[in-house]
Amino acid sequence: MIDVHVQYFAVLRERAGLSRETVATAAATAAELYEELATRHPFNLPRSMLRVAINDEFADWSRQLGTGDRIVFIPPVAGG
């Protein structure tokens, strides 16, 4: 298990009901982490529609997670 810091934006923040949390996870990749979090929060967006940033850089969903990583799930936003 590793601890990672997760931050949510826009519709994900609304769905999660919080903007950030520290999660102890066994997920090896960002993709696995999102699937795990989606079982706890009522996310309505498929992963294919989101981007993930790890330590302030866009990353592939298959990127391996490390302890203390700052992970941000970013949905697209359209309002104007």
Binding site: F9, A10, V11, R13, E14, S19, N44, L45, S48, M49, R51, A53, D56, E57, F58, V72, I74, P75, P76, V77, A78, G79, G80
Partner: protein, 512 residues
């Protein structure tokens, strides 16, 4: 020298003028009022002026001080004669010195108009027939005064020269930068919450030509976050209302009002007419349409979007490392899935902040002020005041050439235009209203509507769109309906159409 004075001696304009000399002034404008030989059809021989001096001097000083403050001139003064004057004598003198001539002329005009209107001075006219009469200048002014501009905004004089000194003072801008701005052209797509500050700041900064592409009309629900518009603009084409307001801000800018939506048919030609595009729409369909057009044209662009208290900003530069919108969002998102301002709600300063950031980026692109940062997606949370920059790279798998289904030419038109919903029913279409329940409470669906299926229910799987039949999908502005229709077409449903412009367009057409 007092700002306002009376003199019982003949006035000496040369002496008064010398007292306005100022090293920061580049010009001087003056007005001289002379005694003429006729008034209202009667021959005048001479005049006597009397004033209630204590009151008149205070009022006169207020007028001159107002003029200096309103027009930003260096110095101004007014001297009025009292006593007996002959034909051709100088009755009143106004002088203004200023950095630029426009303000000097405008302030001079303002002072004489206001003095004639407000300062308690009486004039006794002696006529050639031996008769004489007192004329209260205030009342004569009120009856037929020449006062056409005094209540208009500063600079409404045709010769007003826009003052860019505060931005030219920046070492990175200077006269060369100002010339770049004057030579630049920018297309602003969407004149809403984001577009309003973009337009205001670009026009104010002296960008030479600005296109406003927006096919919507001003609605009452826009004003809280789009304060460029006023109550009287409700129902007007946004592009036209915006162009009119902006013309009052800076006449240096040529503003092209394009009262149309961005479409596959018009976007390439429009983008080709400008150096830079600022994308300020509220829907993914338009954002990707604009993205694909700027990528094709090799035109830099500034994108932004907001959701409730948050915003995202991305700059696209036509350079190898810079990602386009599709690089970041390869699965072009569907409208309706992540909310827009109507569904999710928004506070005005959120799009205003992001719009101001877009304007800043646009100016930087024009001026070549690159802060050295590589491409990023900037995320701003206006509630927590957190800003996050996420480094972004061009996706090697993104062709940078649009290939998504939404861009393939359609065999059948996807949008249809009708004058009334009844006409659509007559054309054999069944109506499906996809607005949210609260929208229908405010504006109930037409009696001829077959189905009410809120888009949120369709997206969340709580409702299914009927598979068989010919349908016209209806929403408030035709954005969500078009997005859903494109989605249904991509799933192989051929006979589904979107009402172009939505119910709002129907109302406008009905009103014409």
């Amino acid at each position: 020298m007092r700002a306002f004075a009376f003199s019982s001696e003949p006035l000496d304009p040369q002496r008064h003028r010398a007292e306005l000399a100022d090293p920061a002034s580049g010009g001087y404008a003056s007005f001289e009022g002379w005694v003429r030989d006729h008034n209202e059809g009667r021959r005048v021989e001479r005049l006597e002026y009397e004033a209630f001096e204590a009151l008149a001097i205070k009022e006169g000083e207020r007028i001159v001080a107002d003029a200096v403050a309103r027009f930003g001139v260096s110095r101004a003064a007014c001297v009025h004669r009292v006593g007996s004057l002959g034909i051709g004598d100088l009755a009143v003198w106004v002088g203004v010195s200023s950095a630029h001539r426009g303000e000097a002329f405008a302030a001079c005009r303002y002072i004489i108009d206001e003095v004639k209107h407000r300062v308690p001075i009486w004039k006794k006219e002696h006529y050639t027939d031996g008769d004489s009469g007192w004329v209260n200048c205030e009342r004569c002014a009120a009856a037929a005064h020449d006062h056409d501009h005094a209540h208009l905004p500063v600079g409404s004089g045709r010769d007003f020269e826009h003052d860019y000194s505060r931005q030219v003072a920046l070492p990175e801008v200077g006269a060369a930068g100002q010339a770049k701005l004057a030579a630049a052209s920018v297309l602003v797509v969407g004149a809403g919450g984001l577009g309003v500050p973009v337009l205001q700041y670009l026009v104010a900064a002296g960008v030479g030509r600005i296109g406003i592409l927006d096919g919507d009309h001003v609605e009452a629900s826009n004003l809280h976050r789009q304060p460029l518009y006023g109550i009287a603009d409700i129902g007007r084409a946004k592009a036209e209302a915006a162009a009119e307001r902006l013309a009052a801000l800076n006449r240096d800018a040529q503003v092209d009002a394009i009262a149309a939506h961005a479409t596959r048919e018009n976007i390439d030609e429009l983008v080709a007419g400008y150096d830079l595009v600022v994308e300020c729409t509220d829907n993914f369909r338009a954002k990707f349409l604009v993205n694909d057009a700027v990528v094709r044209a090799g035109t830099p662009a500034v994108f932004a979007s907001v959701h409730q208290y948050e915003g995202q900003l991305q700059v696209y530069r036509p350079e190898p490392a810079w990602p386009c919108l599709r690089c970041l969002w390869p699965a072009a998102p569907r409208d309706g899935l992540v909310g827009n301002c109507a569904e999710a709600g928004v506070l005005g300063p959120v799009p205003a902040t992001l719009g101001a950031m877009q304007a800043m980026q646009a100016l930087q692109l024009i001026l070549g002020l690159h802060a050295g940062s590589g491409p990023v997606l900037v995320m701003v949370d206006l509630l927590t005041l957190e800003t996050r920059r996420v480094s972004a790279r061009r996706d090697p798998d993104c062709s940078h050439v649009p290939g998504a289904a939404a861009d393939a030419p359609d065999a059948a038109p996807i949008e249809l235009e009708f004058g009334t919903l009844a006409a659509a029913v007559e054309a054999g279409l069944e109506l499906v209203d996809i607005r949210e329940a609260w929208e229908c409470d405010l504006d109930p669906p037409s009696a001829s509507t077959l189905l009410h299926l809120p888009l949120s229910d369709l997206v969340n799987g709580r409702a299914q769109f009927p598979a068989q039949g010919r349908y016209l999908v209806i929403c408030a502005h035709g954005v969500r309906s078009l997005s859903l229709t494109e989605h249904l077409r991509s799933l192989g449903q051929p006979e589904v159409y979107s009402l172009r412009g939505g119910l709002a367009a129907l109302r406008c057409r009905g009103a014409q």
